[in-house]
Symmetry: C2
Subunit: 651 residues, 2 copies
């Protein structure tokens, strides 16, 4: 069951109402009736998103000197055909021929069978547990009515088996399940048309008269792959290195639900770390090998369990649970990033993909999942994509996407050469000379060694050439020579940490939301100060005109220091204004009162403790700046300046 930051049951409806009321997000085109799966971010949502991105850029791009690129969203057909998206980036959908309504086939089978199992339990008099029922699918439920009908024991088993592997069926199999279990349209009761594949990319045409078919990109990765050679050169041809990209991607969901978690247009931040396939150690692994993570590996899942294994990344890599150091390094860095944002570490797990869940080319893949009222939600994927993408694009375009490594110690070996006297060869074989040369080149090393020994013994060297039969090579010499290679060529592997910013945005909010113990209706978003959309609310005690220039000046001083602030000089009570502010997650409130007019001091109130200090404007600005930059904690400030209890504000 989902809980708030303080461990109370989380009511998603309450939170959602708060988020919309405070304009964190809002359905796009709402006055036109809206379009499902499209949302706009209002001012606090936009600022929160910008702060997440800023933290990400510092944590990854700046800290690790990654090469950020900004590639276009419009992508020609050819590129996505090669990457496999045109053929495989699809879901199966079924149409109700009577109403025209369209269902995503796997979701429909899942819901119908789950509903029947629930009805069976009811009929058997088993209480359906709250947690199991949950509200995981509250929003997307198509099956409204659950009938208490008892099923045969083997039917129950069969349904459970199907549900366990629901992600593995293709369209044909889903169609068979629909027929076999007599699944009909939940709306009209009509039989459904067989599942057809629906490609999830948005199609468009680039240029006049539709001359270049194209799509909106489904991920930012492809643009990064295509730029590989230029980035490699930009990096002075040194390996390994990483590119990174932040931008919108698109997925034309069949019927999007679940609010911000399944949308048609979303912000991604993706890293492509290019690495030598033979050398996946990471030079900074020692900095993170002691980080403890909660793992759900594939063996535990295959055993039908969800028990978490808690161990350090160092151990996980040493034991081979995580495939290599670079992958392990990024898992730890993802953990550090998410917890820096304010994610609850106890609601964060790393789930390994099952073999049949991964793309066929992937070596290993882990998802960072966050626990929310929708269940465990994949927020970051971290996959080893091997050399797949670079290989297919290189093959298609004929452009090498490779690394040429100068070897410090050249590879040295010996081999037998067959030296032919060209002056003899030409006249002797004429038009067949090339054919003979090819036959000579094809002599394996082992045979050359034998021939050399025979030659040393004075025996003739003979080979068989197609159409010519056996011939004697009178003027050849077979010698052993030392060979060296100074260059090694390889196609790099790619390790890809891929962040769904909107999913992190929403899950984080669930993690930091709580209600005041003294007032369950009063919601608080406890963003860490660095991440909060606005840092300070400036409230004049009343509408007295004397306060205006002071309020203006405080706002201006803070802006100069880069501290985002808002003034609330509405006529609501201070208590109400602070309540509004709690919902916006603003960590600090500065109150201007009559004392301020006299001596220039203001009070500073901290959101979570609701405690206050009082000092000069200059010192208060300094305090806020220090806390945002992590140089001082609120506790330290309280001790240093002493708690102020003069005002009665919470009325």
């Amino acid at each position: 069951m989902a809980t708030t930051k303080t461990g109370q049951p989380l009511d998603r409806g309450t939170l959602d109402t708060l988020l919309r009321r405070r304009l964190f997000y809002t359905p796009s085109f709402e006055i036109y009736g809206g379009v499902s799966g499209l949302y706009d971010y209002g001012p606090p949502g936009c600022a929160l998103q910008a702060n997440i991105i800023d933290t990400w850029r510092k944590h990854f791009v700046l800290e690790e000197d990654m090469m950020e690129v900004d590639c276009t969203m419009l992508t020609p057909h050819e590129v996505l055909k090669t990457s496999g998206h045109v053929d495989k980036f699809a879901d199966w959908m079924c149409k109700d021929p009577q109403s025209g309504e369209i269902f995503r086939a796997d979701h429909l089978v899942e819901e119908v069978l789950e509903a029947r199992l629930k009805g069976d339990k009811e009929a058997r008099g088993i209480k359906v547990e709250e947690e199991e029922e949950g509200d995981k699918k509250k929003k997307k439920k198509k099956v409204k009515e659950i009938k208490a009908i008892k099923l045969d024991d083997e039917v129950v088993q069969e349904y459970e088996h199907v549900l366990a592997k629901i992600d593995n069926y293709d369209g044909k199999e889903l169609g068979e399940l629909i027929v076999k279990y007599n699944i009909v349209s939940p709306a009209t009761g009509s039989p459904l048309e067989p599942p057809v594949s629906f490609n999830l990319m948005f199609k468009t045409a680039i240029g006049p008269s539709s001359n270049i078919p194209g799509y909106l990109r489904p991920e930012t990765a492809q643009g990064q792959f295509l730029t590989f050679s230029k980035l490699y050169e930009f990096n002075n041809a040194k390996m390994p290195f990483a590119s990174a990209s932040i931008g919108k991607s698109f997925r034309n969901e069949i019927s999007p639900k679940s609010g911000l978690l399944r949308v048609r247009e979303f912000l991604m931040a993706e890293i492509e770390h290019f690495v030598d396939p033979n050398q996946k150690a990471h030079s900074r692994f020692h900095e993170v090998d002691g980080v403890t993570l909660r793992f759900l590996d594939r063996h535990i899942q295959q055993a039908g369990k969800t028990t978490l294994v808690i161990k350090t990344v160092g151990q996980a890599v040493a034991e081979g649970m995580v495939d290599n150091e670079t992958l392990g390094y990024f898992l730890a860095r993802i953990y550090l990033f998410l917890t820096e944002l304010g994610v609850d570490p106890k609601k964060l797990r790393f789930r390994q993909h099952m073999p049949n869940e991964m793309a066929h080319y992937a070596t290993d893949c882990w998802d960072a999942e966050l626990l929310t009222s929708y269940g465990w939600i994949e927020c970051v994927g971290c996959a080893d994509r091997s050399a797949y993408d670079l290989t297919v694009h290189s093959k298609k375009t004929g452009q090498p996407l490779i690394v040429r490594e100068t070897l410090e110690t050249p590879i040295v070996w010996e081999e037998w050469d067959v030296d032919v006297d060209k002056k003899w060869m030409g006249p002797r074989f004429r038009k067949d000379a090339a054919k003979v040369q090819a036959a000579i080149d094809a002599i394996p090393q082992a045979e050359r060694e034998i021939l050399a020994a025979q030659q040393a013994n004075g025996q003739p060297v003979k080979i068989t050439v197609e159409d010519l039969g056996e011939i004697e090579l009178e003027k050849v010499e077979i010698v052993k020579r030392k060979k060296q290679e100074f260059i090694r060529e390889y196609i790099p592997n790619v390790i890809e940490p891929s962040f769904g910013i909107g999913r992190i945005f929403y899950s984080l909010i669930e993690h930091i939301f709580y209600t005041r113990p003294e007032d369950a209706a009063r919601g608080v978003l406890a963003f860490p100060p660095k991440l909060a959309p606005t840092k300070v609310l400036i409230v004049p005690l009343s509408g007295n005109k004397e306060f205006d220039p002071i309020v203006d000046k405080i706002g201006r001083t803070m802006r100069k220091q880069g501290i985002a602030n808002r003034v609330d000089n509405s006529s609501a009570t201070i208590g109400k204004r602070y309540a509004r502010n709690d919902e916006l997650g603003t960590p600090f409130g500065v109150t201007v009162d009559f004392q301020t007019v006299k001596d220039g001091t203001v009070t500073l109130r901290e959101r979570d403790s609701m405690k206050q200090v009082r000092s000069s404007v200059e010192e208060i600005v300094e305090v806020v700046k220090n806390i945002i930059e992590g140089k001082e904690s609120w506790q330290q400030v309280l001790e240093r300046l002493g708690e102020f209890q003069g005002q009665e504000l919470e009325n």
Copy 2:
């Protein structure tokens, strides 16, 4: 003629090669042959773009407490039909039926007539001046061959007349010009098909089975308009206020040319300032009224001239050249923003739109234009869009997009009421009662006054009602009453500063580019430190292993202070490494040498003066930070620390 920062002739080819070599930008999908009008930004371009955006956000959003929103790019048909884009966001194109090639009609007419005029000059023996010919259209030239053919004097005049108003022709007129002047396909010589309208929006379908036709947005503005009521409420129903949005927009150009200046996918930053139509004064206008701008107003243009008028914004508004204070305020703020980026103020002008150039609903519109090798380029538009957008969306959806203002002093007036005795009315007129009441309500004030006077004189009150003829109103009383109104409702006007980030990006680079006087092949991008993609290049003097930990530590110290830096430990000479760095526009270089190993000091080299100072790592980091934050200038640092001349670096 375009010049470099130091006033030398600017060779665009050289600059362009530099920008591609250093990966500021690169054609998208180049290994697939590329798609015209689509470009990717590489690491320095991406960082520069991020720094421009960051400056913009601080300068506008944070400084003026604007409400930033992030709306979707996918937009349903209905919204863009209402806004007028479906019908009017189009260019005219002509097809060569022989080759299938497509031309933008106005551009083709322009080029052909210009080529003929040039040929005429040649035939008359007039030297075609360099400046006039320029390289303005070098890249997009379709007409390759200019034939020296003399034209009649009146034909020359006619051509010049057509060219002067080339932006004003519609498709039919362009078709007539093509026929009249016998303009054929420059490629094949074939006659062209008549111009047809080509809508410049990218079309797609949202949802399965194409159920919602939609487009990629052509501007970010529409999403902001649709959110107006929510933002107004979020702002505690106070006016005026501004929303802002940064994001990609799309324009399916017929045949994009001119590099980054005319692309199909581009980043915009747009502000929608909502204001009372009766009150366009701006509370902060006094802060900027002394800013001097270079204006090109519509009267001067209509007189066929391009003379700039230089005056303060305060004067321009006072004289009515700029329509109102809010518009003037933004022109000054745009100027301050662009010059903060490093734009050359002498290459920046504000050009007013001619009446026939503006959208029919706009009140006034000014473009901030930057002078580049492509001529004067519109980089920021600043239009007063009046109440147009809010009005059409409100009308279409039936949702009020209005401001309800509580009046401080209510509007007071007197009027005559006709009070009817209902108990008499019903029985007297029965089913006709409503009709009689309507007739009473319709009596104009002037007539009521006459009727009141008659009644006072004891005369009967009579009116004529349709179908009933004249009737007497026996039981009515006509009285004068005082009325008050406390609420005023209005649809706000919108003032829209709209920034093309890619155009600013490119034009800025032309303004700050120069070559070293001692070596014309050595290009320098003189970004202001705050804007530079990377702030510091760290160069170890040689490959000596002793330098590695020191280099690492300097990099780490700078990163902690948020200073973006790169290490160049390649084997190139220090001089070559600095030259590479000049091209990346990095303002500082830190050199680690054997002295560093002994006493921990490093040298700091400034890009433009190429002078150095030497001090401890701590002090050097502090110096860099101070300069980036504008707290100290390089000149001050030189004076304080003294110039260091020990090393010979420029080899």
